[in-house]
């Protein structure tokens, strides 16, 4: 008989990993099942990484309440779990007079939601904050910020893992049934898992997963968002630059966001698409992104672009359906008890994630006595970043471990030691994309031109991986088809 878990969480995005980490404070047998080869492989990797202050959403909605509540955790979680958090502030910029009224409405909504520090500023004040940004007025939001959505998810997952949560990757759930008051979860990989509780935080696939057992009619309408990523640029902008949200309420508009690494993101677009997996970029949208960004920041035209990518929002409504927004579905199913569905967790889901986790813990706590796990360790340490150390520390590090003296990635100055540490993390890494997210190799301007060969060598020398065992992402994405000549 298989082991019976108290709770199984489906989906290792930022929401699933937040829930897993918060539940690991208690004496529970926990497991996370993930379809892809790594955490943060869906919505959690393809977004702007913005920590929203909470003025966008309808007062009283779950989106608004959980956003504001979630925001309060970031400082503490960033420190405890050692992931980047920066409250660099945001400007929502009006280009024409008519838009100023829209700014006032946003401020009013923000006040109702309990957001602090919002301020209406004029063109001169915009220039004082951001000399290169063009606008006639703006709403200044001092407590908006940025994080790395995947480093945050990785930190949560590593900490959950350290506190006893099991993780299973590349296991796509394809059947759920009830067997003697237990959930039996079957995967495409022919695995079976049993649990008393089931939490569905499967993101884009959450409606599909819920329908495997629940009788609801929830449906996800995938809405793609494309991005441009620039090389690191100094002194262009320091804050988040947003337009007014679109009138149809679908999105927050194409914005310009500095990343925690010093690059700049332009995006996202909003396109309803047919497939949950179609993260392709398209010419029209790519051109549109640049055009719109130039309206607020003309100099972005000259920026060196290094990558395009796209993420997908799990929308619960379709434009033209008469609905302009919908709230998160976070509920225990009315028929299938002990099954909690989290559906339609789109923006501001990243910011709301800590509060969503709280909410889910409370839902579980209502039905069972949760006993604190006295072994719980709230801290997690990120691997050291050589490039950020002082000269003296760099010298000392190399002396203690010469692997710090071997620079593998030139653009980002990543050393062999950092690649090894990224690979050796408690969750493991199964792909080059996973390595890249953890230690920034291949993430710079040459996009792997210098380091790809070196990484292949390290994987071979340190871990005995054959060429066929090196994947970009999942097991269907091999980099190589064996050797050119047999040895």
């Amino acid at each position: 008989m298989n082991k019976i878990f108290d709770i199984i969480i489906i989906g290792a995005g930022v929401v699933g990993c937040s829930i897993a980490r918060e539940l690991s404070r208690f004496k529970l047998d926990l497991m996370v099942i993930e379809k892809e080869e790594d955490v943060a492989s869906g919505i959690s990797k393809g977004n702007s990484g913005v920590i929203h202050a909470g003025y966008h959403k309808e007062p009283g909605s779950l989106k608004a309440t959980l956003n504001v509540a979630g925001h309060r955790y970031f400082q503490e979680w960033g420190e405890q779990l050692d992931f980047p958090v920066k409250f660099n502030g945001k400007l929502v910029v009006a280009k024409v007079k008519e838009e100023v009224e829209g700014l006032r409405k946003l401020m009013e909504r923000g006040r109702k939601n309990g957001v602090k520090g919002l301020e209406l500023i004029d063109a001169q004040q915009i220039k004082n904050f951001e000399p290169r940004v063009e606008g006639i007025a703006a709403m200044y939001s001092p407590f908006s910020g940025i994080t790395s959505p995947y480093l945050m998810t990785i930190a949560l997952a590593e900490n959950a893992c350290r506190n006893g949560v099991k993780f299973e990757f590349e296991q796509e759930v394809n059947a759920i049934s009830r067997v003697n008051n237990l959930f039996r979860i079957q995967t495409a990989g022919n695995q079976e898992y049993y649990s008393r509780w089931l939490i569905n935080s499967a993101g884009l696939n959450s409606a599909k997963v819920s329908r495997l057992i629940c009788h609801n009619k929830h449906r996800i309408f995938p809405c793609r968002g494309q991005y441009y990523l620039t090389d690191k640029i100094d002194d262009l902008i320091s804050m988040l630059i947003y337009p007014l949200p679109s009138k149809d309420g679908v999105t927050l508009g194409i914005h310009i966001t500095p990343t925690v690494d010093g690059n700049i993101l332009i995006g996202p677009s909003a396109e309803y698409i047919d497939s949950l997996e179609d993260t392709a970029c398209t010419r029209e949208v790519m051109d549109k992104l640049k055009r719109e960004a130039e309206q607020f920041l003309p100099e972005i035209r000259e920026a060196p672009f290094i990558r395009n990518y796209a993420g997908i929002r799990p929308k619960l409504f379709y434009p033209g359906s008469g609905v302009n927004d919908s709230d998160y579905i976070i509920e225990e199913d009315s028929e299938i008890h002990y099954m909690i569905n989290l559906i339609g967790i789109e923006s501001p889901g990243l910011t709301a994630a800590p509060a969503i986790a709280d909410m889910v813990v409370n839902m579980v706590g209502e039905k069972e006595d949760l006993v604190l796990n006295d072994q719980f360790c709230p801290e997690r340490k990120a691997p050291l970043i050589f490039a950020q150390q002082s000269e003296a520390d760099q010298a000392r590090l190399i002396q203690d471990d010469p692997a710090y003296g071997e620079v593998i990635c030139r653009c980002e100055t990543v050393t062999r030691k950092e690649v090894i540490e990224a690979f050796d993390n408690i969750l493991g890494v199964r792909s080059l994309d996973g390595l890249k997210r953890r230690c920034r190799i291949m993430a710079g301007r040459c996009q792997g031109g210098f380091c790809t060969t070196r990484i292949v060598e390290i994987l071979r020398d340190e871990y005995g991986l054959s060429p066929e065992q090196i994947f970009k992402s999942n097991f269907q994405s091999p980099l190589f088809y064996g050797r050119v000549k047999d040895d």
Partner: protein, 416 residues
């Protein structure tokens, strides 16, 4: 941490850097170090197992590794100290260098520096090609290193975008190794690689070259599954009704090389937007006194031999700089007509009476005359039946007077 004063530091041990170190040493400078980030000397030469190297410098037809070996033997004979697996991570205008290696952190204060870091390849991101982001997309140089140095089979059915020399060479290389090389796609109406590569790599191996075409979409979620290619009109606009889906699992990009000048910027070296390399005078000295630049970090060369020749000059001049500090020197700009993409050097010193200009044209020209003038004086005048952007032109000029008004231009000639 080791801190040390040194006469000359050469950054990068490729064809240019090795040459610079050799010539500086032969000019009598002993306190010199050649810094190389790879575990071996030679740079990109080592992965270039095809021939065609050394024709100008050694009067022999060598492979990349053989060419490198010639220079390495020189280095050893000349007793040039070098450090491999050593990455320069910082440098400044005071000529202080921070080097990371397994031996530790090394801080050097140099009297002269030769920048010879080479170039990197343009990536898919810089091209802004729409589509998905699957495995199976490599730049041609990375593919060359994976195949030739790591013995890795990078795919089965290959399309190459861009007709740069590395792409043409890899087309042949992969075909020889039994991969299907479906076609080379070039957005320009002419091949951007050297004629000899077009003939020896594509024609001789029956690999089709599609001109005025490009890749407009990339398909496949995990591994590349197909590309959409389309033709371009004379204005370079995509003709969507010519779109064609090409099933393949590998895409190589050979779409341009970019001088790798991140370190140069840190040393406050002024760059030329046309070459993306440093702005130099006839000594290949940059605006930061005592910092010289040569090889592909200065501008992209067609063949390694020319990069080495530039390296010899840089090393020689760096050696002079160690011995004598120059006073204030006037430098005159070199100008050119709009058909000239760039000229190196960009500046000529007031005491210079003889130098070599290197330049490229912006597009192919036929029945043309290249003219170099210095004010009213014509220094060079020669007719060409055809002149291609892929070929670097080198013209020696000299005068009794200061070269203060050098101007390079093209003139149409009568059809012969």
């Amino acid at each position: 941490m080791i801190e040390k004063d040194i006469d000359i530091a050469v950054i990068g041990a490729g064809p240019a850097g090795m040459a610079a170190a050799i010539s500086a040493r032969e000019k009598g400078v002993k306190d010199i170090i050649l810094l190389e980030r790879n575990p071996f000397l030679g740079g990109i030469l080592i992965q270039c197992i095809h021939d065609g190297f050394g024709l100008h410098l050694f009067d022999q037809n060598l492979t990349g590794p053989e060419y490198a070996e010639e220079l390495i033997q020189h280095l050893i004979k000349a007793k040039v100290p070098f450090l491999t697996e050593a990455m320069v991570i910082d440098i400044n205008a005071q000529k202080e260098i921070r080097v990371v290696s397994r031996q530790g952190l090394l801080k050097l204060k140099a009297k002269a520096i030769v920048l010879a870091m080479g170039c990197r390849e343009r990536t898919r991101g810089a091209l802004e090609i729409p589509g998905t982001r699957p495995a199976g997309i490599f730049t041609a140089g990375v593919a060359q290193s994976l195949v030739n140095l790591q013995n890795l089979k990078i795919g089965k059915e290959v399309v190459i975008l861009g007709s740069g020399d590395v792409g043409l060479i890899m087309a042949r290389r992969l075909k020889i190794e039994g991969l299907k090389v479906l076609r080379v796609i070039e957005k320009l109406p002419y091949c951007s690689g050297l004629v000899r590569n077009r003939v020896q790599c594509l024609r001789d191996y029956d690999i089709p070259l599609h001109l005025s075409s490009t890749v407009i979409d990339i398909h496949g979620k995990d591994r590349l599954e197909a590309l959409t290619a389309a033709q371009l009109n004379e204005k370079g606009e995509i003709l969507y009704d010519t779109a064609e889906v090409i099933p393949c699992d590998t895409l190589l990009l050979s779409v341009g090389l970019i001088p790798e000048n991140e370190l140069s910027r840190k040393a406050e070296v002024r760059l030329d937007w046309r070459t993306l390399g440093a702005e130099v005078d006839d000594y290949v000295e940059t605006n930061t006194p005592g910092i010289f630049s040569c090889g592909n970090v200065l501008h992209i060369h067609d063949v390694a031999d020319y990069a080495s020749q530039e390296g010899f000059l840089a090393g020689e001049r760096a050696a002079c700089r160690v011995r004598e500090n120059q006073g204030k020197v006037l430098r005159f700009p070199v100008n050119a007509s709009k058909e000239i993409k760039y000229v190196v050097p960009q500046l000529i010193r007031e005491d210079c009476r003889e130098t070599e200009l290197k330049f490229r044209v912006t597009e192919p020209f036929e029945n043309i005359r290249i003219i170099v003038k210095n004010g009213g004086e014509t220094l060079f005048r020669k007719k060409f039946l055809k002149i291609m952007p892929s070929e670097m032109n080198m013209v020696k000029i000299s005068s009794d007077k200061p070269l203060d008004k050098v101007y390079v231009e093209l003139e149409k000639t009568e059809i012969a």
